[in-house]
């Protein structure tokens, strides 16, 4: 500007605080503080509690945990481990074979199947397990139908115990394998296979030497992920009555008032989870096959033989039914009258009342309002923290970046049960971080738990969009005279907005469905939706419980739809 020319003199070098090379640490300090206060400090408090007995330092709790005389805990650890291993294997088989069928073959029903393959993502943990008990448990619709059809004495099969847990895990977690595998297969350049074939490799050799090795990184990543989530799984063991898992033991110790044991079990489970987090990060850093070729064209083999087509049609139909049944049964039962469904195959009488009540009856509406409120508060925190952290990670240069990254991912690796136990340990007494308030037993502990559990969501989606954005765009804005804040507001934020929004919606909807931490933390005055569903189930009010469930699923589907749209029109740089 012309006026500036006449301004007299030179500003002294780096007098302003913002130009100092250390200013960046002032900016990132709050991020570290929040992580310390609500992730590290609670984790540490739990650890402290675990090495205490009768108010003194002692390893008694650990001795009790590993005591071969009373093997309940060891058994739980062992059960958790083998359930997790089996879940990985089952999810791997289902997920990878589905990915191959859907990506590599063209057959009747492929399109609809590839859309529905993602349906399990739309099931909130508790509601998903419930629908499986409605369908496949001893009193479930499918076993009873078969019994009636074939006039059997007893139901031919039923889902319970560890098998129940495994089936639910497979159904809900195969998507992790499916998604990574199909992305990897899409990225496989067909010309690599053609090159191998032209060099004389047989189809089997091509598979063994080319395709599988290229998929390995994706498979390992998915395996670690599924293993971690299985270790953290709480809802399925709860509903199928498998008490001897780590998460259930923590829950039981806590409800029996043995807080020190709960802390010990939590600490051990945390260690396993953190080890897996480290393993995952190490592996992601160590190996990744960037595809070297450009312009990959997908080629699908068409199933042509009449028998093959017929078979494909039948199998696709079965697949569609299996995938849709859990949601369909929830919708069906949501219309059933509470307390009428006993020994019949299907509920005998139907009503619209539950849906009307959801929005008219204040008592029924309350949990919905509570969950919205809790999730809203937590999500605001997540957005502020997530956007700031993502900006710092992508744009700023400072020491301790890796530490920040690991600390943000930590809550994601910690099982919800552990997060709850940690918060209880930290905030059952007044502390600086809770503004000298006792949070346990109040409304505020829940949004805090949601905030911690969903900490990485906004961060991850925002940093992904920021990374696509070229840094020079921000520099261009500054060059044109914009202050840092102006260019953040007008350029950086609008460009990252799709990522911020996608993460925000996801965090919000996850908050609405949160069950695992809520069940340990909720207060009677503020019952979140999932806990209410759980209670209604035990009160034999299936209809209302399922209506709540359908509401959750609808919200999730809307959010998934929007996030896809947002991911579709990415706002990268225009070059």
């Amino acid at each position: 500007m012309k006026t500036e020319l006449t301004k007299p003199a030179a500003p002294k070098r780096r007098t302003s605080l913002t130009a100092s090379p250390y200013f960046v640490y002032v900016l990132v300090a709050p991020l570290y503080l929040i992580l310390f206060a609500y992730v590290i400090y609670p984790l540490f408090e739990t650890f402290l509690e675990s090495v205490k007995a009768d108010g003194q330092f002692s390893l008694k709790n650990y001795a009790a945990f590993f005591d071969p005389e009373h093997p309940a805990n060891l058994e739980a650890l062992w059960t958790s481990l083998y359930i997790s291993v089996l879940s990985v294997i089952l999810c791997g088989i289902v997920g990878v074979s589905m990915a191959f069928l859907l990506e590599r073959y063209e057959f009747p029903g492929r399109r609809i199947l590839s859309v529905l393959a993602m349906v399990p993502m739309a099931l909130p943990p508790l509601v998903g397990v419930l629908s499986f008990t409605f369908l496949y448990s001893e009193s479930g619709i499918i076993p009873r139908t078969l019994q009636w059809l074939f006039d059997l004495e007893q139901v031919p099969f039923s889902l319970k115990g560890i098998w129940g847990v495994l089936v639910v895990h497979t159904f809900t977690m195969y998507t992790y394998f499916y998604m990574t595998a199909s992305a990897a297969i899409k990225g496989l350049d067909p010309s690599l296979e053609e090159a191998a074939a032209s060099l004389g490799a047989s189809r089997l050799t091509v598979w063994r030497r080319v395709i599988l090795p290229m998929l390995t990184p994706a498979m390992v990543a998915a395996s670690l992920l599924v293993f971690m989530i299985s270790m953290a799984s709480y809802t399925a063991p709860l509903i199928f009555g498998v008490d001897r898992t780590m998460t259930m033991q923590i829950y039981l110790s806590r409800t029996n008032g043995n807080l020190e044991m709960a802390a010990t079990q939590s600490t051990i489970l945390s260690i396993v989870s953190i080890l897996f987090l480290i393993l995952m990060r190490w592996y992601q850093g160590a190996r990744s096959y960037q595809n070297l070729s450009k312009g990959i064209s997908v080629h699908r083999t068409e199933v042509k033989s009449p028998l093959g087509r017929y078979l494909a049609m039948v199998l696709s139909t079965i697949g569609v039914i299996v995938l849709m049944l859990p949601i369909m049964v929830l919708v069906l039962i949501s219309f059933s009258e509470d307390g009428t469904w006993t020994v019949q195959i299907l509920p005998p009488s139907y009503t619209l009342d539950h849906y009307v009540e959801l929005f008219t009856d204040s008592k029924t509406w309350e949990p919905i309002a509570t969950s919205f409120e809790l999730s809203f508060i937590a999500t605001i925190g997540n957005v502020i923290f997530g956007v700031a952290a993502a900006y710092a990670m992508v744009r700023l240069k400072f020491r301790g970046k890796t530490l920040l990254d690991v600390l943000i991912m930590l809550p994601w690796a910690l099982p919800g049960t552990v997060v709850a136990v940690n918060l209880i340990a930290a905030f059952s007494e007044p502390s600086v971080f809770s503004f000298q308030q006792v949070l346990v037993g109040t409304f505020w502990i829940m949004p805090l738990a949601y905030f911690v559990r969903h900490l990485p969501l906004v961060f991850r989606s925002t940093s992904a969009t920021l990374m696509q954005m070229d840094g020079s765009v921000e520099e261009a804005a500054r060059n044109l005279g914009a202050t840092w804040w102006y260019s953040f507001r007008r350029v950086v934020f609008p460009m990252a907005f799709s990522g911020v929004l996608a993460g925000t919606l996801l965090a919000f909807v996850q908050g609405i469905g949160e069950f695992v931490a809520s069940i340990l933390l909720f207060t009677p005055g503020a019952t979140p939706l999932s806990v209410e569903i759980f209670q209604r189930m035990y009160a034999f009010e299936f209809g209302t419980a399922c209506a709540y469930g359908v509401l959750q699923i609808t919200l999730i589907i809307i959010v998934l739809f929007f996030s896809r749209k947002l991911a579709g029109d990415k706002a990268g740089t225009a070059v």
Binding site: L5, A10, P11, R14, A19, G481, S487, A571, T573
Partner: protein, 358 residues
């Protein structure tokens, strides 16, 4: 409008010297180019002028005003980035208006100025387009309009042509030069392409390894390079090593191979080169100075076999082997017969074409 002075500017990244003691005065209205291979520090220097880096030592002045520690948004420079850095979420109009909105100009005035800028870069009527609806050349012109509309004191161009194809590059080159002459704006241009630098610049600063090699007009840089780096980096040349064997009446004789002595003019030497008998020096001979020997040529006639014969249309290039050295010669195509590989060729190196590099 003002000139730019870099006073002994250095920039250190960790332990690496990115830019080492650059000292230059750029005059108001001048088209000044930083030229050098990638990693030579030219972009770092430009970014210090724009304010994205602060110098580790030295001062930067716009006119008389010290801007060394001024943040980029207070410098009023217009910068065009290598990848244009257009805001993808804004239209063409909004992109250009951005800098004016920052300066809180009234709406009608913004509209008028943006329209004028659009017509300046021949994009009238494109205001409502989205950025991804533009071709590379059009994006380039939007970036230029966006930088110019704020009436900057200094226009900074960071390899603005490198993302364009060859034909567009030439067109845009003329366009930038035309705008610069029309507006008379001080322009600093960064490029690694010497043809671009030669054709557009008033003066060029050649850099290598963070150090300034030479500052001068294109003519000086090409014809009177200060050192071997400049001689070889700018244009093609034959750089031969030799020993001075005799100096008399303004002419120096240099032995470049046993039995092969060439004669050049003493005044035709780089200031860094003091000619003495017995001294080893390098000479630079531009291929286009060499011509085919005629029977009456007295000295500086060399004979060699053709190793490479290249017909490019406008010219014929030969590489011959002369006394263990390679000699590249370029003849303008005038319809003569193109010699084949293996044929012997007698060439004359004019006395005035021999330049002592030192």
């Amino acid at each position: 409008m003002s000139g730019v002075t870099l006073e002994h500017v250095s920039k250190v990244f960790g332990n690496v010297r990115g830019v080492d003691d650059v000292h230059v005065e750029i005059k108001p209205g001048e088209f000044f180019t930083f030229l050098g291979p990638s990693g030579c520090g030219k972009t770092t220097t430009l970014r210090m002028i724009a304010g994205f880096y602060y110098p580790s030592a030295g001062r930067i002045l716009f006119g008389d005003r010290d801007v060394t520690a001024l943040p980029p948004n207070k410098r009023n420079t217009g910068m065009v980035f290598q990848n244009y850095a257009l805001f993808p979420h804004m239209s063409v109009f909004e992109n250009i208006a951005f800098g004016l909105q920052v300066r809180k100009l009234p709406r009608p005035q913004i509209k008028e100025k943006v329209e004028r800028a659009l017509s300046l870069v021949h994009l009238s009527g494109y205001g409502n387009r989205r950025i991804d609806q533009l071709s590379g050349g059009q994006q380039q012109r939007v970036a230029l309009a966006r930088a110019l509309v704020i009436e900057p004191q200094i226009l900074l161009l960071d390899e603005p042509l490198s993302n364009l194809d060859a034909k567009l590059r030439e067109e845009t080159r003329f366009e930038i030069k035309r705008l610069q002459l029309e507006l008379g704006i001080t322009t600093i241009y960064v490029t690694h392409d010497q043809a671009e630098a030669m054709s557009m610049s008033d003066r060029i600063m050649v850099m290598n390894g963070g150090v300034v090699q030479q500052i001068g007009t294109p003519d000086e840089i090409y014809n009177r390079p200060l050192n071997r780096f400049v001689a070889t980096f700018i244009g093609e040349t034959n750089l031969w090593e030799g020993t001075v064997v005799g100096i008399d009446s303004g002419e120096a004789r240099i032995e470049v191979a046993p039995e092969l002595v060439l004669t050049g003019r003493v005044q035709n030497a780089s200031p860094a080169c003091q000619l003495k008998v017995g001294q080893k020096t390098a000479i630079s001979i531009r291929p286009e100075f060499i011509r085919e020997a005629k029977p009456d040529d007295q000295h500086n006639v060399v004979k060699g076999n053709i190793i490479v014969s290249e017909f490019t249309g406008a010219s014929v290039n030969y590489v011959t082997e002369v006394g263990g050295n390679r000699l590249r010669a370029m003849f303008v195509n005038q319809g003569h017969r193109v010699r084949q590989r293996g044929e012997e060729l007698a060439l004359h190196i004019p006395t005035e074409s021999i330049y002592f590099v030192g």
